[in-house]
Symmetry: C2
Subunit: 305 residues, 2 copies
């Protein structure tokens, strides 16, 4: 399931899981009756964050911090940053799964949030997770106010209308339409690429990366962001529903444009390998400190879910 | 329609309107086909922000800045702050109107966003407006990084699960249930009160308010936040659909708990007057600089929509 990931990355993921759930511990109290209702909202939030995710974005942020300066990846600031990224990603999945959007009943191997609870809860949990992500960055320990503001700017742009949200909108409008390869790339650069690039930027900012280092991380991020989607399209054809934790064949069935349709299965696989190589090339200025990033690039291309 | 508001407040509102729409000017370009799709997303966003709103929250922020230091309310920083507040409020209305939530076809006198466009667009526009609000604060001119971080923290908490989103969740769960007056107050302190208090805090922070001034503004905000909802409940009974711009009698019909049901119509009106007086008392430490805030408190209680 997680072939290609070292024990250190896996351990980091387990630790992240615990921190992620701690985000939903209540910080304030209200009237008794409201109290139990609010706890159920937080329970639904925990459900959405509980398990099954690959946690690629927080792991990328930590690996980027590590590439810039080994040791920095263990700082509490990097952890807050990582969790903020995962909250944004999780909220987007919750909203994407809604009946009015992709209408998916399964997510990460269990019923999607609106199936386990209801649509109103799914809408509100998504909204609340987005707010919590920005709150976490504002509250992050060990960061200067300048670092926080820069991170919030990057994350807000990447997740907003000219980033992830815009990409999802283009994706929904694209059902049953013809797209060129250039258009497909442009859509995925927004839908998936923007938040992956932001993950690397935030990790870099947390570790006080130079502008040149941030530029290299961003280039790496562009390539693995696209590779991630190419591989998703391949797995949609070749994977199986049980391993994927979501419905196999769904994108093809929904008549969405995919890399496999435009390039063929072999062409898509060659494209993934090409993007992997470009991602590795972007890291040439880093030494061994970027080995986790290199490993993650290979994992993204060679994963089976 | 706007009885009780001076020309200066009305002029500020018109200016805000222009700035609000400028938020949706594109800052980047993507592939040609995606370009037109993204523009339609921004068009839907403009539709949602276009007109009809009372703009209470941004006006409160400007009045709070003015109370602390006359002249500061005209600063670009206060304008960015004001727009961020209105974007959060607008996103919450868009999501609240969705069929899975309050299922309202009308908003601000025209079809709600999911009726004018579709549900997917309404979900995504809401998500995008939230991100844009935090982006605006991160980008605000004339503010220190410390001020921005503080504002983002306040806004994220106020709009999130233990604020506005939590209040909306309690509200939805409360249909057909009995609430005590204390529970009703607790719900509205989250649903409406949290963002109103945040508006005053953000205006105060933008004008470098002292802690004592922020505490007075917050006290004022608690009272007018509750008054706002009491009056909403009265208007739901006494107002008419055309003036309100939304469906009159909807809350009563939906079997939601309201102040009118718990206190009676006369009792609710007395409560509104009592809250108005408490709000005015909270401003006793301010001189004439707080006259706009005093006027706004009266407007909130005496409005007819």
């Amino acid at each position: 399931m997680t072939a290609g990931l070292t024990d250190s990355i896996k351990a980091g993921r387990d630790e992240l899981q615990a921190q992620l759930l701690a985000v939903f511990d209540r910080s304030t109290k209200t009237a008794p009756a409201s109290e139990s209702v609010l706890n159920s909202l937080l329970g639904a939030s925990s459900y959405a964050c509980e398990n099954g995710g690959k946690r690629i974005r927080p792991i990328l942020a930590q690996a980027a911090a590590s590439a810039v300066s080994i040791g920095d990846a263990d700082k509490p600031a990097v952890h807050s940053t990582s969790i903020a990224l995962e909250l944004i990603h999780t909220y987007s999945l919750i909203h994407d799964d809604l009946p009015a959007m992709d209408d998916d009943d399964m997510r990460r191997g269990k019923p999607s949030l609106h199936r386990a609870y209801d649509e109103a809860t799914a809408i509100l949990v998504g909204d609340g997770l987005q707010a919590r992500a920005f709150e976490l960055l504002a509250d992050a320990p060990d960061l200067t106010a300048e670092q926080k503001v820069r991170m919030i700017r990057v994350l807000a742009k990447a997740s907003g209308m000219e980033g992830m949200v815009g990409g999802q909108y283009i994706d929904i409008q694209a059902v049953d339409s013809q797209m060129t390869l250039e258009e497909l790339r442009a859509m995925h650069m927004l839908k998936t690429g923007a938040l992956i690039r932001a993950s690397l930027a935030l990790g870099g900012i947390a570790a006080n990366a130079t502008e040149a280092q941030l530029a290299a991380l961003d280039k790496y991020g562009c390539h693995i962001g696209l590779a991630f989607q190419v591989v998703d399209d391949i797995l949609d054809v070749e994977g199986n529903t049980e391993t994927l934790g979501k419905t196999q064949g769904k994108d093809a069935e929904a008549n969405k444009p995919t890399y496999v349709k435009l390039l063929g299965l072999d062409g898509a696989k060659a494209e993934a390998q090409h993007l992997l190589q470009s991602a590795l090339d972007a890291l040439s200025g880093f030494g061994e400190s970027a080995d986790q990033l290199r490993e993650l690039a290979r994992y993204i291309v060679e994963r089976d879910r």
